[in-house]
């Protein structure tokens, strides 16, 4: 709707981001305290994702009939659930699959969406019209509803959840890419490249893509947040990651029945989702401030996850 097109000076023939550009971004992030906190949370997430099963004090499905519904204690910092399983261990181990779904689904959306947006913005005309109308169609469904419908049809589980979330977030990448390509395409260096007889593919790859990297990086960070949120919602509905593998969304679903007696079951898995999503959002916002100050469409990215 209102993708702010980068103005001429912004989208100017900035060379491929090189070391000093990266240094500038890094320096700006370091001055931004919330962004640092966000990066710290993400670092914890990555460590938990990599080493979770090794760090967990208990097995994820270690049932203990003598210790059902134990409140948080020294032995069980997040308490135990209805089967006596340690909630802390389960939250820790579930980090990996959450991160995995986020990365893979956003990877799918990025790959497909950028390709579509690039082709549409570069060739314009009929191609543009057809491709973008297709994106409009996907955009006409509320995010979660479409994901639920896709999973319902293809069958529940990890892989279909990743595909479904990927499909759902494809249009936003296509739109962001196309809007940026349209303005970059008018730049002199593209005209120059065309006049040297470079192939379309080469121009897109060498001249257009590097110059639209900024909005894409920002969009990727924000989309990771929403993808993780969507996975949690799907798993909450029983359509994502399947038991006995622990997932934050599913743990919340199970905990929902015991809110009166075992509040910890409903608190900690949600806290994990919240912190991770918050971290990706804060880092995404900070990146936007540095890389792409004119982009105002952040809220278009989340239409009720």
């Amino acid at each position: 709707m209102s993708v702010t097109e980068p103005n001429a000076e912004h989208a100017g023939p900035a060379p491929t981001p090189h070391v000093s550009e990266r240094g500038r971004v890094w320096a700006a992030l370091r001055r931004n305290k919330p962004a640092l906190a966000g990066l710290f949370i993400l670092a914890v997430l990555v460590v938990a994702g990599a080493l979770g099963p090794l760090l967990a004090p208990y097995g994820i499905n270690e049932v203990d009939a003598d210790h059902l519904f134990q409140g948080p204690s020294r032995d069980h910092p997040f308490g135990t659930d209805d089967a006596g399983r340690d909630v802390f261990s389960r939250v820790l181990v579930a980090a990996r699959v959450s991160l995995l779904v986020g990365l893979v689904s956003v990877g799918i959306a990025l790959l497909v969406g950028v390709t579509i947006g690039l082709v549409a913005g570069y060739y314009r005309g009929v191609v543009d019209n057809v491709l973008m109308r297709c994106m409009d169609v996907l955009f006409a469904f509320p995010v979660l509803l479409l994901a639920v419908a896709i999973v319902a049809v293809l069958g529940r589980g990890l892989v279909t959840a990743m595909v479904a979330i990927g499909v759902v977030y494809t249009p936003i990448f296509a739109r962001v890419t196309r809007a940026s390509v349209l303005s970059v395409r008018e730049q002199v260096f593209v005209t120059a490249a065309v006049s040297t007889g470079a192939s379309d593919w080469r121009i897109m790859r060498r001249h257009v893509l590097p110059n639209i990297a900024a909005p894409l990086i920002v969009q990727t960070s924000l989309s990771l947040a929403f993808a993780i949120l969507s996975e949690a919602a799907l798993s909450f509905l029983g359509l994502g990651i399947q038991p006995p593998q622990p997932s934050w969304g599913r743990m919340l679903y199970d905990g929902r029945g015991y809110v009166q007696d075992a509040w910890w079951m409903g608190l900690f898995p949600g806290l994990a989702i919240f912190l991770v999503v918050l971290a990706f959002n804060i880092v995404g916002d900070a990146l936007r401030d540095v890389l792409d100050p004119r982009q105002l469409t952040k809220d278009e990215a989340r239409r009720t996850a």
């Binding site: 919340l252 989702i273 918050l278 239409r303």
Partner: protein
């Protein structure tokens, strides 16, 4: 305006056609025979034959699609694989509950976000501004169903003020109706409020940096008058769009909240249809929601063009 209207209508019609194609293809993508999948292992051959016949699954795909669209235009969305009842009735029956929830959620969101967003921009950098920014960042990041669970823990478990879930029709008992409405609509509304607060703040900030604001200030108008007469008038036009898009997406986007609070709307229906593999009902619910979404967006764009005549010239 006339040309804009025509172009916009045509565009919506094309997208709606695409939406029907996607919804139609959902059934085709079911691995195997959808009727058999829906009925499970034990079923009457007669029921099976009748459902297949009714769904027209033996005809060529293009014919099936055309008849799907044709039937949909006349309000016939097929019959449920489970109950055999017409899908249109099943879906429309759930609409009021969803509309109620969406309406009150957006109402709550507007009541919170307008004062918060405007004050946050006008008093840029103040404590209030920080509070508003933290609120919107948190609100955008919090899983709504988790907040719902926390709300149930607090208001039902600890305080015992409100029922944890369920629904009472307004006509039966207005007080009970309201009690059941509070938690789900505030839960959804807070997330929407966070999104809107953020948008209103940046929109007002942008308007305040415009030349006409400097001119107004230069004329010696009081700050209050500058804000109410010049800034808000311009800043709030785009807010109309965002608020309406939020409303539209709530119509079908609150599945999880409806499930959590046992709210008998379209989201709950979709969830039940998925679990029962009742594909025609799933298709009907998805189609209705997408159509409502498109319609709302269309109306908003037209309203927007009316508020800001520059749009239709673009």
């Amino acid at each position: 305006m006339g040309r804009f209207l025509v172009r916009r209508l045509a565009q919506s019609a094309v997208v709606l056609l695409g939406v029907t194609l996607v919804v139609f293809l959902l059934l085709q993508l079911v691995p195997g025979d959808p009727v058999r999948v829906a009925l499970g292992t034990r079923f009457e051959q007669d029921t099976y034959d009748a459902l297949r016949e009714r769904a027209g699954l033996d005809r060529p795909l293009p014919v099936q699609y055309l008849s799907y669209v044709g039937n949909a235009l006349t309000g016939d969305l097929g019959v449920s694989f489970r109950s055999g009842d017409p899908v249109t009735g099943i879906v429309l029956e759930r609409l009021p509950a969803t509309l109620t929830l969406a309406f009150f959620a957006v109402l709550f969101a507007l009541l919170v976000s307008f004062p918060l967003g405007i004050l946050s921009a006008v008093k840029n950098g103040s404590v209030l501004d920080h509070v508003a920014r933290v609120f919107s960042q948190f609100g955008v990041s919090v899983p709504d169903f988790w907040m719902g669970i926390l709300a149930i823990i607090l208001f039902t478990g600890v305080l015992g003020w409100l029922p944890p879930s369920g629904y009472t029709p307004l006509g039966e008992d207005p007080v009970d109706w309201f009690k059941h409405l509070v938690l789900p609509s505030v839960t959804v509304g807070l997330v929407t409020a966070a999104i809107l607060t953020r948008f209103i703040r940046s929109s007002v900030l942008e308007a305040m940096s415009e030349d006409y604001v400097r001119t107004a200030e230069g004329k010696g108008l009081s700050p209050r008058r500058v804000v109410t007469r010049h800034v808000l008038r311009n800043a709030l036009i785009p807010v109309v769009t965002v608020a309406a898009v939020q409303l539209a997406s709530l119509l079908g986007g609150v599945i999880v909240i409806e499930v959590l609070f046992a709210w008998p709307g379209l989201g709950q229906l979709t969830f039940d249809a998925v679990r029962a593999r009742d594909y025609p009902v799933l298709q009907g619910a998805v189609l209705l929601v997408a159509a409502l979404f498109l319609l709302t967006n269309l109306l908003v764009d037209l309203l927007y063009a009316k508020l800001d005549p520059r749009i239709s010239v673009r």
